[in-house]
């Protein structure tokens, strides 16, 4: 993973450049594989921070976590049954400098722009696959719940920090009190040290919990990727319907032109106003229409294939994604429970130590 090794450059500038290259890679993948739930990148800026200090993007802990996130991204892509075969990915992983030219050569940028526009447009589709609509609804739920959870967790962490830190004051007052005591002095003094240790322990505890937050964040961003796949389905379906619609109206026009009873058309209007057209003109128009119809039929065929392919391939990947999500999040919850147990054990240890000291007073 040489590319990631480059990304480990401690100077922030290099890392930012590298991050943007990851963004470029992902952008390419998303455009090229619209039926794949493409793994997301870690956040560019620290969000959902539990303490004002960690909002610093240059914070070494944040930089390290982001590096781990980028590594994770590559692992996911490289182990994906479809994405792992991509040539651009290969270039990204092997060529330090040349890969950018290669990716631009694919011309994906143009597609990227139109994709963005299409995805944010509103349009009404008649026949959508229910499974995709359900999945889209689920992606909204997933996004909402993970972001709610991240916000709530940050607030909890903030408060817990306060509780621990205030206990540190016991350390100071016990120390001061021990100075005026005879038999009680030693016990109090030692207990005070344990209170200090207790107060200090929260920093590591919360830093470790950030890993859990990162796992949640990954799926927050994954939700967006899932949604995009569903939207793409809507889009292809819409385009198919538009193309079909267009073909139908063109065929209708041909009918009318052929049978001579044109229904309302501008041509018909001008005919009425300015006189009938000559048979050569009619022939010309018919021929044009036939060409357009042929094109239209091709378009419909293409669109139908595109739609069906998208549905088929997307459904496979969405299933894969769901399985992965269930497995990953379950593991994340288990790890979270493990962290909580570890915190409880530490708490018991400290207070038991303090109790020993109190008993010796």
């Amino acid at each position: 993973m040489d590319a990631v090794a480059e990304g480990r450059n401690p100077a922030p500038d290099s890392l930012w450049r590298r991050y943007s290259e990851f963004e470029l890679l992902r952008s390419y993948l998303v455009v090229t594989y619209p039926y794949i739930v493409v793994p997301p990148l870690p956040e560019k800026r620290a969000e959902f921070v539990w303490h004002k200090l960690s909002a610093d993007n240059m914070d070494p802990d944040f930089v390290e976590r982001r590096r781990v996130g980028l590594e994770n991204f590559l692992l996911r892509v490289a182990s994906h049954p479809v994405l792992s075969n991509d040539k651009i990915l290969y270039h990204f992983l092997t060529e330090e400098h040349g890969w950018k030219e290669v990716v631009y050569e694919t011309g994906f940028q143009a597609k990227a722009d139109s994709r963005l526009r299409a995805l944010s447009a509103t349009f009404r589709v008649r026949n959508t696959d229910k499974r995709f609509m359900d999945m889209k609804h689920y992606s909204d739920e997933l996004q909402s719940h993970t972001s709610q959870l991240l916000r709530a967790r940050a607030r909890v962490a903030d408060r817990l920090y306060g509780v621990f830190k205030v206990h540190g004051n016991y350390g100071r007052v016990f120390s001061e009190w021990s100075a005026i005591e005879k038999e009680m002095g030693d016990g109090l003094q030692s207990a005070g040290h344990h209170m200090d240790a207790y107060a200090a322990s929260i920093d590591d505890i919360l830093e470790e919990e950030e890993h859990y937050a990162d796992q949640l964040k990954e799926y927050l961003f994954y939700a967006e990727a899932l949604r995009a796949v569903c939207r793409k389905h809507e889009l292809t379906q819409f385009e198919l319907e538009m193309a079909s619609q267009d073909l139908i109206s063109k065929k209708q026009q041909r009918e009318e032109l052929a049978t001579g009873c044109e229904r309302f058309s501008f041509k018909g209007m001008t005919n009425k106003l300015f006189g009938q057209e000559a048979p050569e003109q009619r022939e010309a128009r018919l021929k044009l229409l036939e060409e357009l119809i042929a094109e239209g039929e091709e378009a419909v065929k293409e669109k139908t294939v595109e739609c069906e392919e998208h549905v088929e391939r997307a459904w496979v990947d969405m299933q894969r994604f769901e399985e992965q999500k269930d497995k990953d999040l379950r593991e994340a919850l288990i790890n979270y429970a493990v962290m909580q147990i570890s915190m409880c054990k530490k708490g018991i240890q400290v207070w038991s130590n303090a109790k020993e000291c109190f008993l010796k007073m």
């Binding site: 206990h167 409880c344 303090a354």
Partner: protein, 443 residues
């Protein structure tokens, strides 16, 4: 543990002061209940040795803390001898419990049951059970202060509470006050001098406490050692009493700080609890939109809820048990300071009279008046009483704070144990499901 020598509990009467343990002392080692002791758990904390001798139980008592207070060995320092020591065993037990509300046309108030068990001949009966209200305790305290001015009288909980701020009839307030009254009475009953005070006798035994009765029982000694207001200036306070005063000032300050810290912790915990509850509900609502993940997410929500409950218990204990004891000690310090002041006055009076007498003697050879000698006796008596009380107070303070702080540590440990248990059972649940899934996959 042998029945014949239950020395673990503080004995009023004539034991050497070094062997007297405060009734609320915590154990040095945890004791497993011997065959001699039976305890009614859940009842009103009355324990009885198998030979029928009642075991003094005082709040806050649970079965385990009761056993903690029964000691096999005393391990106190062997210094000062109590001037009142003799070989009698403990013979006066008092308890305050069973609060009841009384509503009359004039007022509403709470009474408490005061139970006494004793073998002392100063009492007519071996057992008494009377009902007393706060006013009555206050009466007793004033009487003790008046009749035993050279001794430290334990403090009572605050008399006045701001109406509207504190509910005088809430369960928590009554419970806290009752514990403090119980402690007050036990301290008096354990004091080698105060416990023989006739006012205490009346308080414990009289059906109706006629508060005017007190006047007839005042002793001569009491009358002659009345607090003299002003007039005399102290020359040189002995160093040991200076040290006591300084100690009390600093100690009072530190207790104040600890009180503030504890209150701050309570506040932070309360805010943490609010966020934690909200946090739990988010897991629940997420669970609703998931299939495979529903049970794990609901499991986490359940754990968070359990932790919330555990935290609530911890906070409640802090405010119900920890803070009141702390505050009561501040009052105790004030009482002690008062006694020091009275001692100063007594010494000042003596010095004043002595100086006047010396001057007169120099002028016209009048012999030293008897009053001056009596004053000297008073001062020496006072000093001796005070020193003895100081030692006892220090010893009690040590035990009280040992218990208070270990109690606080225990509650915190308990809190974490509850949380740990909840998370551990969740992991078992989740991991079982995992192995279930894996085996079904491979099949």
């Amino acid at each position: 543990m042998s029945v014949g020598a239950p020395r673990g509990l503080a004995s009023s009467g004539q034991k050497p002061i070094t062997e007297i343990l405060h009734p609320l002392s915590a154990a040095e080692e945890p004791i497993s209940p011997g065959p001699d002791v039976t305890v009614n758990v859940g009842g009103e904390k009355e324990a009885v040795l198998t030979n029928g001798t009642p075991v003094e139980t005082s709040s806050p008592a649970s079965a385990s803390s009761l056993f903690n207070r029964l000691q096999l060995d005393d391990d106190l320092e062997a210094d000062a001898r109590d001037p009142y020591a003799s070989m009698e065993t403990r013979d006066l037990f008092v308890t305050v419990d069973d609060p009841k509300k009384h509503v009359s046309t004039m007022e509403t108030y709470i009474t408490y049951r005061v139970s006494t068990k004793t073998t002392r001949i100063e009492f007519d009966l071996p057992e008494y059970s009377v009902r007393r209200r706060y006013q009555d305790f206050d009466w007793l305290r004033i009487k003790l202060e008046d009749s035993q001015p050279t001794h430290l009288i334990p403090p009572l909980p605050e008399k006045f509470v701001m109406k509207g701020v504190v509910d005088r009839f809430s369960e928590e307030f009554v419970e806290t006050r009752m514990k403090a009254l119980d402690k007050f009475l036990k301290r008096v009953a354990d004091h080698p001098v105060l416990s023989f005070n006739p006012h205490l006798n009346a308080f414990l035994s009289a059906k109706d406490l006629n508060k005017r009765q007190g006047l007839a029982l005042l002793t001569k000694v009491g009358e002659s050692v009345k607090h003299v207001a002003g007039g005399y200036k102290l020359r040189a306070r002995p160093a040991e009493f200076c040290a006591m005063g300084e100690y009390l000032d600093t100690f009072s300050q530190k207790l104040g700080t600890i009180d503030r810290i504890a209150q701050r912790i309570l506040k932070e915990q309360s805010e943490y609890l609010t966020e934690l509850r909200e946090y739990g509900t988010v897991y629940s609502s997420w669970a609703a939109s998931e299939e495979e993940l529903r049970r794990p997410l609901e499991g986490v929500a359940g754990c968070v809820t359990t932790c919330c409950g555990a935290l609530e218990d911890l906070s409640e204990n802090m405010s119900q048990d920890f803070l009141p004891v702390l505050r009561e000690y501040v009052l105790y310090i004030e009482s002690m300071k008062n006694v020091l002041r009275k001692r100063d006055q007594s010494q000042a009076e003596y010095e004043g009279r002595l100086e006047a007498a010396i001057l007169r003697k120099q002028e016209d050879r009048t012999p030293m008046p008897i009053e001056v000698e009596k004053c000297q006796d008073k001062v020496e008596c006072f000093n001796a009483d005070l020193k003895a009380d100081w030692e006892r107070w220090q010893s009690n303070k040590r035990q009280d704070f040992k218990q208070l702080l270990t109690g606080m540590a225990d509650k915190n440990i308990n809190h974490y144990e509850k949380c740990q248990a909840a998370w551990e059972s969740l992991i078992t649940l989740l991991q079982d499901k995992q192995t279930e899934d894996k085996t079904s996959e491979t099949n």
